[in-house]
Structure formats: C-alpha cells, structure tokens
C-alpha cells in the first residue's frame, strides 16, 4: 500500500486488557453546513459503521452518525488477546467509501 491509511491505531496490552486508541481521518460532514464562498450546501459525508476485529473475531461494532466529530477518535478495551495478535479496524461511510487497517497488539 503506497497510499497512507486514513486510520491510525495504537493497541496496548496491560494486565490482560488491551486498550485501543484509534483515529480516523474523515471530514464527518453533516450535510447541514454551507460553503461560505458558493452558498451551496456541502453534501453529507460521514462514517456510519466502524468495526474492530481481533484474530478475525469481532470485539466492537459501532453505528455512528453526523454528531461524531471530524477526524473521529475512538477508544475501547477488551480482554483475552495476546501480544502480537492482529487487530483490524474498518469503517464505511454513507457514500460507500471504506477503509481498514490491521495492527499488531503491543
């Protein structure tokens, strides 16, 4: 992959609990804002689904709306994973765009 991913993940294991901090680069346009120059409404563009899997098993699944901030940040915790396990975060937005990134648990 030459293109830089829209996702940044940090997953750290401590005392049996993995804490994930994830940042997604996304405009999260509500569809309510107007372009100040043209006066036209900027079309809605926001992430609707976000899923995290560890070793192919789902740990969290989120449905999100326009009220999640631009460049969304998520943090969550789960048990039962080991160092070096692979986790994958994926998102899909209302325009059909999507991205995913895999990271190793540290």
């Amino acid at each position: 992959m030459s293109k830089k991913s829209s996702i940044k993940i940090r997953a750290k294991l401590k005392n049996g609990v993995t804490t994930v901090k994830a940042l997604v680069r996304h405009p999260m346009e509500t569809g309510l804002r107007k372009d100040k120059k043209t006066g036209k409404v900027i079309p809605a563009e926001f992430i609707q689904n976000i899923v995290c899997e560890v070793n192919g098993k789902k740990v969290i699944n989120g449905q999100i709306g326009v009220a999640v901030s631009k460049n969304p940040y998520f943090s969550f915790k789960f048990e039962g994973a080991n160092k070096g396990d692979e986790m994958k975060l994926s998102w899909t937005d209302n325009t059909g765009k999507s991205d995913s990134l895999a990271a190793k648990i540290k």
Partner: protein, 154 residues
C-alpha cells in the same frame, strides 16, 4: 414494449425481490446496517426508542459519563462512557439538544469491556445521555455540558 426492455425490467425486479427476501430472512446479519430512523429522530425520546430495543431506560448510578463541564468548542467534545453493569450489550450516546440527538451506538461482545471513548459534536448546552443495555435491561445516565460555541452547522 420490446424484448430488451422487458428483460431488463424483469431482471431489475428480480434483484429487488431477492434483496428484500434476504433482508427478511437475516436482518441482523446484513453488513453495514445503519439505523437510519433512529439517527434521523428529532427528539431525545424518539431517538432512544428508535435506537434501543426493549423497555424505557431507568436511571442508574452505575454508569459513568466523563465529559467536560464546559466545552469551549462544541465541535469536539470528548465523551467517555463506562459502567460497572454486567453483560453489557450496547452503549448508546445521545446529545439531547442536537437537531438529531443520537450520536453513536456501540455493540459489545463478551470480551469487550463496557468502556467507550470518543469525541462528539454538540449544537448547544445540553445533557449528554448514555443508555446502557445490560442483561436485557436498559439503564441511563446523563451529564450536562455547557457549550460556548456550538459545533453543528456553519
């Protein structure tokens, strides 16, 4: 109607019927499901009803909402919801006075701890409401956040 048009149309209706029956058979397994009605609900009570199945939530002191008392910028309000309730199935976050109060809903698995942290937009000073589904019952808690500059619209 010529033959080509007829074929196209029958194919199209066939595809729609197939999609509909697939949806009826397994509504929960459809990928990228998004609860449009709940996300578009204009007031808190209908947003809660749309997003959370089961009984109306009861107040609970076991849900902790961490959010600032005063948010200078309503476009980025950090919110963390955690709870000591067991068997948490979902945590749903609402911002009461937003045009559409439902912010986000997270489904938890057994291994996932009942903890979620994110950043939300708030149109004006309002309660942040968290509804937790635990063991088939619904619980809620709220916290007021004073917003100096709203974060919705332009």
């Amino acid at each position: 109607m010529n033959r080509r048009v007829f074929l196209q149309r029958s194919l199209a209706t066939g595809a729609v019927a197939l999609a509909a029956s697939a949806g009826l058979l397994a509504p929960s397994t459809v990928l990228a499901s998004w609860n449009k009605a709940a996300f578009e609900a204009k007031d808190l009570s209908s947003a809660i009803k749309g997003a959370v199945t089961g009984d109306a939530p009861t107040e609970s002191a076991d849900i902790k909402i961490k959010a600032p008392d005063i948010a200078e910028n309503g476009a980025v309000v950090p919110v963390t919801v955690s709870t000591t309730l067991k068997d948490v199935e979902t945590i749903t976050i609402f911002s009461e006075k937003n045009g559409t109060p439902l912010v986000a809903q997270f489904d938890f698995e057994k291994a996932t701890q009942p903890f979620i942290s994110t950043r939300i937009k708030m149109g004006k000073t309002s309660n942040v409401v968290a509804v937790v589904k635990s063991g088939g019952k619904n619980y809620q808690a709220k916290k007021e956040v004073k917003v100096t500059i709203g974060g919705c619209g332009g």
